[in-house]
């Protein structure tokens, strides 16, 4: 069953200098038990996508200007903020990038997990504490009882992030969105946390949207990938096919510009130019200024989104080839 379905999502924000549209026509879905990667660089719109799904846009002077979001067939754009509060934490949970900023420094970490539990469900303090300790233990936190009573500054980055994950999971959500959950962590700690995400998602049969710029994490953890660039989905598909046969020039270029252990000497290829800012998105295909395959019509026209089975591609060249082939 489809857990989450995002259909032709457009998001706009009101800013001092006018309205900006950081997301255009985003579509993807995720099933229970599946891990979907959302990969892209700065300004690709991946965090805004998470904010849209969580119903946080109104608090950021933003809104969904077009499109739909369905969670378990429920239209999220038709519910009230009060109804959204029932969903957050309980059904859909967001884990953010900096564990340091998610945790209140003046409260014990255990109490912060309990606070979340009491907000999202009817539960006694004692039961909430037991549940919190259980979730912490299941996430590999040693001496969870003791850690419960500690303050964030007493914990390492890895432990703090496990606490934040515990906060996200303790009310048993069906869908977890993790926004760059390991960028601030050491690589050995990152490896452990990613394994933890994998294990937890499978054990609880929940859906996980992993937002990251790290293709290594994507290839290790995810079943399917959505590649974003400048507010668009440029390619989406199963992780094996994206890496083996990238169909969008950006995906292809991205794979070639990341250093990999074992790659040949001097085989790194840079992508010329810069990621465009939301105020200066190029006309036509937003990738065209950096694309080696760009033609005249790429500069004028927005590419169509071609959906073929499990794959989605937004590229004029691909569309032309696909049309000829079919």
């Amino acid at each position: 069953m489809t857990l989450l379905k995002v259909e032709n999502l457009n998001v706009s924000f009101k800013t001092r200098d006018g309205v900006v549209e950081p997301l255009s026509n985003i579509s993807f879905e995720i099933d229970a038990g599946e891990i979907l990667g959302l990969v892209g660089e700065t300004g690709s719109g991946k965090s805004v996508t998470a904010q849209a799904i969580m119903g946080l846009l109104p608090f950021l002077d933003g809104k969904v200007s077009a499109g739909r979001i369905f969670f378990n067939d429920q239209d999220l754009l038709a519910i009230s903020e009060k109804e959204y509060q029932q969903l957050r934490g309980n059904q859909i949970s967001l884990i953010s990038q900096n564990p340091m900023t998610s945790l209140d420094p003046v409260y014990k970490v255990g109490d912060q997990i309990v606070e979340g539990l009491k907000l999202h469900m009817t539960i006694t303090k004692a039961d909430a504490r037991t549940r919190a300790v259980d979730v912490m233990t299941s996430l590999g936190i040693p001496n969870a009882d003791k850690v419960f009573n500690q303050y964030p500054h007493q914990l390492s980055g890895g432990l703090k992030q496990r606490i934040v994950i515990a906060m996200g999971l303790c009310a048993d959500p069906k869908l977890l969105i993790a926004d760059e959950p390991t960028t601030a962590l050491d690589v050995t700690v990152q490896a452990q946390i990613i394994e933890l995400f994998k294990q937890t998602t499978r054990e609880r049969n929940i859906g996980l949207i992993m937002i990251t710029h790290d293709l290594g994490i994507i290839s290790h953890l995810c079943d399917r990938v959505v590649v974003m660039y400048a507010g668009n989905v440029v390619e989406a598909g199963r992780v094996e096919s994206i890496f083996a046969e990238p169909k969008h020039p950006y995906t292809e270029a991205l794979l070639k510009c990341i250093p990999k252990l074992g790659m040949a000497d001097r085989s790194l290829h840079a992508i010329p130019g810069n990621v465009p800012s939301v105020r200066t998105y190029p006309h036509g295909c937003r990738y065209h200024p950096r694309c080696p395959k760009a033609k005249a019509y790429c500069m004028e026209n927005t590419p169509e989104i071609i959906q073929v089975k499990n794959t989605q591609v937004k590229c004029h060249q691909f569309t032309a080839q696909w049309r000829t082939a079919s």
Binding site: S156, D186, E195, S219, L254, C257, K260, L261, H269, A270
Partner: protein
């Protein structure tokens, strides 16, 4: 071949004070008895996680902070405690590129001014037009356009700022550049541009680089040799191309296994490591990696292993180095 830089028994201990009287209650051994050479023209990498001491090491070599003990020799000259004028002249030969381009450039200076400042500080006796020419040349070298001269940092992208920082480092044709996480703050597509630029400049000027990063794949790609640090000590010095080599130190092995390769078909092995990094305030006796090492034995708890040359140019500090 005489090394360009020789580091011998370099240590930096930061005192920790406590209590009302601010008495010294302990110390953080940020860099602990570190010895190695840097050869002319090579790119030497330093990898390690938080608290390993790599950034402190960079600052020690640049004489930004004084060592607690040990020596640093640059081009045959001992640079410990040298006078201000000598230090200024040294800085013509030895430069640094820091991680954050946003804080490396004075936001109130145009790029032109930031570059010109180098010549002023170094009291270079060149007429203004020659300085202007040199600045244009530098901008061209790093892939910036002449008009970027007039730009202010906030008008440039992260990648452009970092190029400006590199241009500034190159201004007086240094022999040696230390790069501390030079691309960590940049998008991956821009990171590749900077890496390629650094390689090109390295080729052109036979530049010697000390490349510090937490990104093992990046260091392996860019460098010919790699130093692995853990809690202030060197645990291994190895040639790069790690996938072809077998690591000798268990920690190097863990680092390699922790890196996720961007290939879903790559065979992965769960890194064999346990426990948490000990606090820098409380580095254990014996081998500092002991509590996390799956191969540790009694002696590891009691005695700290020396860095020994396992093979010419390859060093490891371990009582039971891995063999294959």
């Amino acid at each position: 071949m005489t090394p360009l830089v020789e580091i011998r028994h370099l240590s930096k201990f930061f005192p920790v004070t406590g209590g009302l009287m601010h008495r010294k209650t302990g110390e953080v051994k940020a860099v602990n008895e570190v010895s190695f050479d840097i050869f002319r023209g090579e790119s030497l990498g330093v990898v390690g996680e938080s608290g390993c001491g790599k950034s402190t090491l960079a600052r020690l070599i640049l004489s930004l902070i004084p060592p607690t003990s040990g020596t640093i020799t640059f081009d045959g000259q001992n640079i410990n405690g040298i006078g201000k004028k000598q230090l200024r002249l040294l800085r013509r030969k030895m430069q640094m590129v820091f991680q954050d381009p946003h804080s490396s450039l004075d936001p109130r200076n145009s790029i032109y001014r930031s570059l010109e400042e180098v010549f002023k500080i170094q009291k270079v006796p060149l007429p203004q037009e020659k300085i202007n020419d040199r600045i244009s040349e530098l901008l061209g070298m790093v892939g910036l356009k002449p008009e970027h001269c007039r730009s202010y940092p906030h008008q440039l992208s992260g990648g452009q700022k970092q190029r400006a920082v590199i241009a500034r480092a190159l201004a007086l044709t240094p022999e040696f550049i230390i790069l501390d996480e030079p691309t960590a703050a940049l998008d991956v597509s821009v990171q590749a541009q900077i890496v390629l630029l650094l390689q090109e400049l390295g080729d052109q000027f036979n530049m010697t680089y000390l490349f510090i990063s937490h990104d093992l794949a990046l260091v392996d790609y860019f460098c010919q040799r790699i130093i692995v640090m853990y809690l202030g000590k060197i645990v291994e010095i190895t040639p790069a191309n790690l996938s072809q080599k077998q690591p000798r130190h268990p920690y190097t092995k863990v680092l390699m296994e922790s890196v996720f390769i961007a290939d879903p078909l790559a065979k992965t092995q769960a890194p064999q490591i346990k426990g948490e990094v000990p606090s820098l305030f409380n580095i254990p006796e014996g081998c500092s990696f002991e509590n996390r090492c799956v191969y540790s034995k009694d002696i590891c708890r009691k005695k700290s292993p020396e860095l020994v040359e396992a093979q010419p140019g390859e060093f490891v500090a371990c009582h039971f180095p891995l063999t294959y």
